[in-house]
């Protein structure tokens, strides 16, 4: 029943086949099905089993292994091996008694409570969906899936991470790297600026230059700290240009045209704008005209389909929370949903979310910074907001933060995927 990873085009043609499979779905009365085995989905599956081993947990992902986006910048710049962030989902399943199925999720019958997949229908009592992001391509730029072998965005970790890593290893004296950052909201607010710093660090070593084209009015996270790195360490080799709209891309000549002029590069890393993972659109969890799935901030239950919960990057965060689209938040909200499902099965009321976030970012090969925030649901605002002003960034980058950040990486991988 092995399904290979499919391109978007193949997925749409393959979808109808699922309805032909005539497996009788079986459920036990407390069956939780989880679509997507990344930071949100894997954590939910593991914590459900830790909290109540008698719950029947079925985890579905199209891939046998989840490759972590967090720490994938380290892979691109040769600071970690990709094997360290490649997490086999069967290992997680075996460790905790989770039923893992490698399959493409293709549809949903919310009334009969059946999830449709490429390897058959699966009945659920509660469904948790955590598909991450997909790219929201600007049709005017003609930057489509097929262009990405030569111009990888590497914002969903996997093959593109390796292609970009290999391109980075070829950077030589006199080269110019162009990094285009995505419009907010996107996955991992500090991520593009961490990547900018690591391009800067490579450029310093190789004698190259970096141009960062940002469509946003300013640096979107940990601003004073990234600004400091740009203006000191990378002062002579990195140009940061905010408020920049790309109007066209010449893929042959590697020229980017913008409202601030034309830029020619030897390596172009164009990170497209983003929207929720295609899956939530397919499953009918997105309101008309929106790009993300609407949820109730008290529970993360979909506002459109009952007994379906959406967590992680895919949620329409702006109206319901100040939380960023991060792996730490996907992990933490997975725990909140797991706790609440266990309570609901036991006939108890769910409790409102209480979570924290941290993101460590490298500003060069040896020093890091972070952001830390505690969040809680506020009934008054019907929103998940910062608790008691518990939010902050360090005064400066440090080696100590880099060492702790490395530990954080290994601990969150283990907490989520092992």
């Amino acid at each position: 029943k092995k399904t290979e990873q499919k391109t978007a085009a193949e997925q749409t043609t393959a979808a109808p086949a699922a309805t032909e499979i005539k497996t009788e779905p079986i459920k036990t009365g407390n069956t939780v099905v989880i679509a997507g085995g990344g930071y949100g989905g894997a954590t939910t599956a593991k914590y459900l089993k830790i909290l109540n081993p008698s719950i029947n947990v079925i985890l579905v992902d199209r891939n046998a292994e989840h490759i972590s986006c967090a720490m994938s910048n380290e892979v691109i710049f040769g600071l970690r091996d990709i094997s360290e962030i490649t997490m086999p989902l069967k290992r997680l399943a075996d460790n905790h008694g989770i039923d893992f199925r490698q399959a493409e999720v293709t549809g949903l019958d919310g009334k009969k409570k059946i999830l449709k997949t490429s390897s058959g229908d699966i009945a659920y009592d509660k469904l948790v969906v955590s598909p991450g992001i997909s790219m929201d391509y600007d049709p005017a730029l003609n930057f489509t899936e097929d262009k990405q072998a030569s111009m990888p965005h590497a914002w969903i970790a996997g093959k593109q991470t390796e292609i970009l890593r290999d391109m980075v290893s070829q950077i030589k004296s006199g080269d110019t790297v162009i990094l285009r950052t995505p419009v907010a909201l996107y996955r991992c607010p500090p991520g593009p600026y961490e990547r900018a710093c690591l391009f800067g660090s490579t450029a310093l070593k190789k004698g190259a230059k970096v141009v960062v084209l940002d469509p946003n009015p300013q640096i979107m996270s940990k601003k004073p700290l990234f600004e400091k790195a740009f203006n000191t360490t990378y002062k002579n080799i990195l140009q940061y240009i905010p408020n920049t709209k790309v109007t066209s891309i010449d893929f042959e000549k590697k020229i980017i045209k913008t409202d601030k002029g034309e830029f020619q590069g030897t390596l172009i890393n164009f990170i497209p704008d983003q929207k929720a993972g295609e899956l939530v659109f397919t499953l009918g969890l997105v309101e008309n005209g929106k790009k993300w799935a609407s949820v109730d901030p008290k529970t993360f239950e979909s506002t459109l389909i009952k007994d379906v919960y959406v967590i992680g990057d895919a949620i329409d965060s702006a109206p319901v929370t100040e939380m960023p689209k991060s792996g730490t938040i996907a992990n933490a909200t997975g725990k909140v949903v797991a706790e609440n499902l266990v309570r609901i099965f036991a006939g108890k009321e769910p409790l409102v979310p209480f979570v924290g976030n941290t993101c460590y970012s490298l500003v060069n090969d040896t020093e890091a910074i972070w952001i830390a925030t505690l969040y809680e649901y506020s009934a008054e605002k019907n929103k998940i907001v910062t608790r008691n002003g518990a939010n902050g960034i360090p005064e400066a980058a440090s080696v100590e933060n880099r060492i702790n950040g490395d530990s954080w990486g290994n601990n969150i991988l283990s907490d989520t995927f092992i």
């Binding site: 830790i50 730490t328 706790e339 505690l374 002003g389 902050g392 702790n404």
Partner: protein
């Protein structure tokens, strides 16, 4: 019966400290199975207190714990200390430097450490003395340097005064040795 309130307030801590507070890496400490009184003290010492509307510098240095702890009340911190202390202590599986372990084992200061922390690094008769046998290595070393360099000015820091007479190299060996205990 688990302290469910403590578990809820501390649900996200495991992304840094490991599942149920059992860390798998070397720098962020294990907190699962640590003594309850010590856990509570350590958090209260890192928490910035507000006196006359002004935020004070905490007694104990921390990189980021001070940010999170600002958001919790004392009773919430106590609930988390209760829950984490009720989890199993999992001795570190991080690969240790065996040369350092051997050096630590023959340190002339070891006897003094053991007089308070016990031979296995887990003195169960005084819950204010932290469990250090099997704690992660880089964290133990950093902690010793913090006592040495007056960055941990806690109520009981005086008891750790011996570290001021010990070289950094030897402290590193002692830290690695205590990490190796089960």
């Amino acid at each position: 019966q688990e302290n469910e309130e403590g578990r809820r307030f501390g649900n996200f801590c495991s992304s840094c400290h490991g599942t149920a507070g059992a860390a798998v890496s070397d720098a962020i400490p294990s907190i699962g199975g640590q003594h309850k009184d010590y856990l509570k003290n350590s958090m209260m010492d890192m928490k910035p207190m507000v006196v006359d509307g002004k935020e004070q510098t905490p007694k104990r240095y921390s990189t980021l714990m001070k940010i999170f702890l600002k958001g919790y009340s004392e009773s919430e911190i106590e609930a988390m200390a209760d829950w984490y202390s009720s989890r199993p202590w999992v001795p570190t599986s991080y690969p240790l430097n065996q040369d350092l372990v051997a050096k630590g084992k023959v340190s002339k200061h070891l006897e003094t450490c053991v007089s308070c922390h016990a031979a296995n690094g887990n003195n169960t008769s005084d819950a204010g003395i932290p469990r250090i046998g099997g704690q992660v290595p880089t964290y133990l070393y950093n902690s010793l340097l913090e006592y040495k360099n007056d960055k941990r000015m806690t109520e009981r820091a005086e008891e750790m005064a011996i570290v001021k007479e010990i070289s950094d190299e030897e402290l590193k060996a002692l830290a690695e040795y205590f990490s190796s205990l089960k």
